[in-house]
């Protein structure tokens, strides 16, 4: 598996990572590579340690053993090279959209006028222009996650870590999000690591899908849906290869779903 390190440039590598919570083995000897500039999904049933893996990459959780590197540097703590998008958005309810989006820059000590100018730009980019002074409780779930996404884009990290970002968003909004995400991957030269439990979502948005099986977690298969990547967003869901891959993944996962 490690013989192709020269041909592909990996932004993030995970090598032989173990993680236990007390007696529960969350991750056992997990190794996975994330190619630069691509979107890799980590897909698996609930309880398979997807979020644990993402938090270890983020530097929010220490691994018991094994090594995680980002751009060749071993990860020990959160860093400027990574930005996180949270499942429950993690917005500050007392701060308006502008401050929430600029908050990552605020914590880095960027001057107020400068960080607000940057925040304005990304607020426009995620389609929230005009909502700068709204508070999170005044926004819908989908709009709140756009705020979370804008905050992550603001700090200009090379690696974007997304923890089931669309799971708390209604179905129609989620579809729109997925289409927007495809454009984002195309336009921003960032590496995306995307945790999800939705098979369709993973196949739709990813350059590479890593399937994790639970208890203890290990990578069972890596699928690269390449055939329909160049097609436009609307026709992917009708593409025979897309449907085949979704079926194949379901076949391998169904035994693990109680």
């Amino acid at each position: 598996m490690n013989n192709n390190t020269n041909s592909v440039d990996y932004a993030v590598t995970v090598r032989n990572v173990y993680k236990n919570y007390g007696d529960v083995e969350a991750l056992r000897d997990l190794s996975l590579d994330f190619p630069r500039g691509q979107l890799t999904s980590v897909l698996g049933p609930s309880g398979c340690g997807k979020t644990t893996l993402l938090k270890i990459i983020a530097g929010l959780l220490p691994a018991d053993s094994g090594e995680v590197t980002v751009n060749g540097q071993p990860v020990t703590r959160p860093g400027a090279d990574r930005a996180f998008v949270f499942q429950d958005f993690a917005l500050l309810p007392w701060a308006n959209v502008l401050r929430n989006v600029a908050f990552g820059l605020e914590l880095r000590g960027v001057a107020k006028s400068e960080r607000e100018a940057i925040a304005e730009k990304y607020i426009g980019e995620v389609g929230l222009k005009g909502f700068e002074n709204s508070y999170p409780h005044e926004l819908s779930g989908g709009m709140r996650q756009r705020v979370g996404l804008a905050r992550a884009l603001c700090v200009d990290a090379q690696v974007l870590l997304m923890d089931e970002p669309f799971s708390a968003v209604d179905e129609q909004t989620r579809r729109k999000f997925q289409e927007d995400l495809l454009n984002l991957v195309k336009n921003e030269s960032k590496t995306f690591i995307f945790v999800t439990h939705s098979i369709e979502e993973a196949v739709y948005v990813s350059d590479q899908v890593a399937i994790l099986l639970p208890r203890p977690s290990r990578v069972s298969e890596i699928i690269k849906p390449e055939g329909f990547r160049h097609k436009d967003a609307n026709s992917i869901r009708r593409d025979p290869e897309y449907l085949d891959i979704v079926d194949r993944i379901w076949a391998s996962l169904r035994t693990y779903v109680e």
Binding site: L60, P78, A80, A83, F84, A90, W94, F103, E106, R151
Partner: protein, 253 residues
């Protein structure tokens, strides 16, 4: 909407004082004056200046005690909320303080600190501090985990995370604790004056009772409640100025 809530407040006051008046006229007890009698006595105490002299005395232990409780209480509560070890070390003291029968402890306080201001400040603190400490520590501990992780992921320092995430997130409950602490402090101040040495408003209460001037006694009690309500409203105004924005909404979220 505003008029309506004001109207309801007046209505509620009217019902309360009305039933007081009726209960006084029946009378439910020889020692229970009517509302009007009490208000007349209240007016007399005001005009004669007795009430102001009394409050100059009562407010000393109250203000000192509440200030100590607020500053120390929030500080200690914050430390308890942030550190497990500190929690084990300090929390039991405040749980004991909150459940201890204070009136029974007062003789002990008098033996150690005498009958002066110090003992009274202690009584106010014992009443006010536990609820402030326990509310603050609970609120700090209940900060949503993902908000703290967000602070870490975006490279906030420990101090950043405390000042910009934990404290604002905890502030509605910290203020609720402060309000409870202040009202408990009022009870403590009067209790101290009744149990340690009769001074200030406590003196008016015990003296009026001893000469069976019940209207004055109830007027003094009424004045305490009035002052407490005014003070709590003031605290709420301060809270609103300090933390602008939609607080009620996110406190319940």
């Amino acid at each position: 909407m505003r008029y309506r809530s004001l109207l309801l407040k007046f209505l509620s006051a009217f019902i309360l004082f009305g039933s007081w008046e009726i209960a006084g006229r029946i009378p439910v007890s020889f020692a229970f004056p009517t509302f009007i009698e009490s208000m007349v006595a209240f007016w007399v105490l005001l005009v004669e200046g007795t009430l102001f002299v009394a409050y100059a005395e009562t407010l000393k232990p109250l203000v000192v005690g509440v200030l100590i409780s607020a500053i120390l209480g929030i500080g200690i509560g914050l430390s308890i909320g942030l550190s497990r070890k500190f929690d084990w070390l300090v929390s039991p003291i405040f749980i004991v303080m909150q459940t201890a029968p204070l009136a029974a402890l007062i003789p002990l306080l008098i033996m150690v600190y005498g009958i002066g201001l110090t003992s009274k400040v202690f009584v106010v603190c014992i009443m006010a501090m536990p609820v402030i400490v326990l509310n603050t520590s609970g609120a700090v501990r209940n900060t949503p985990v993902s908000m703290i992780e967000m602070g870490q992921a975006y490279l906030g320092t420990r101090l950043d995370i405390i000042l910009k995430i934990i404290l604002p997130a905890a502030s509605p409950i910290i203020f609720a604790g402060l309000r409870l602490g202040v009202s408990a402090g009022f009870i403590g101040a009067i209790l101290a004056e009744l149990k340690i040495t009769p001074t200030g408003v406590g003196d008016i209460i015990s003296y009026s009772r001893s000469i069976a001037d019940y209207p004055s006694m109830y007027a003094a009690i009424f004045s305490i409640i009035l002052l407490a309500v005014v003070f709590l409203n003031l605290l709420e105004q301060i809270e609103n100025i300090l933390f602008k924005g939609p607080r009620q909404v996110y406190a319940s979220e």
